[in-house]
Symmetry: C2
Subunit: 113 residues, 2 copies
């Protein structure tokens, strides 16, 4: 058995629906979150705006990936961060939580490997 | 509290290292896995080959996303599938497990929301 890294699944509740529809905000927050914990993006984020609804954003990292999916109608965002190496993914979580204006969060942490 | 979908984190052990280095195989397996459970890709997969090492592949779906990260040196692949809606993500897991030749798997399922 080998441990390759930590995978955090973070449910963010009570976020601002206007921010959760804002694809430009999600586009900015992903590289910003990676930078906060010294992770390296392997390209630009992949983004998809569902017309009048939520946003999907994924950033592939040297250390694995970050994804955000939003549901403005539920003031909810689902975040996952998978990091290999010494980076502390909790800093990325705090950054995105603040940027989306979430009032509550629940994190499930899984040691992958 | 709202449930938006299931997020499966699947550790695949005992995979063939040659397959785990094969970016073309990963490129094929992601849309194939999505098709197996009737999910819709929102574009081509994003791929990264670490020279002489593993592969990262991410496919953004209408129903959320699938990612695969491989470690040929550990005969290991880390898979995550986040699906919203009626699709059964277990069919996608079985498809990728078979394609990568994994002999064992461990799945953590998280109800997101």
């Amino acid at each position: 058995v080998v441990s390759v890294g930590l995978h955090l699944l973070v449910d963010l509740h009570g976020s601002d629906p206007v921010r959760l529809k804002n694809v430009e905000l999600v586009k900015t927050c992903l590289p910003g979150a990676a930078a906060k914990c010294g992770m390296t993006a392997m390209g630009p984020p992949v983004l998809h705006q569902f017309p009048g609804q939520g946003v999907t954003g994924v950033l592939v990292l040297k250390e694995s990936h970050i994804s955000v999916h939003t549901w403005p109608e539920h003031a909810f965002a689902a975040l996952d961060i998978f990091t290999c190496g010494p980076a502390d993914p909790r800093k990325a979580v705090d950054f995105i939580k603040q940027l989306l204006g979430a009032s509550a969060s629940r994190t499930v942490t899984v040691d992958r490997g």
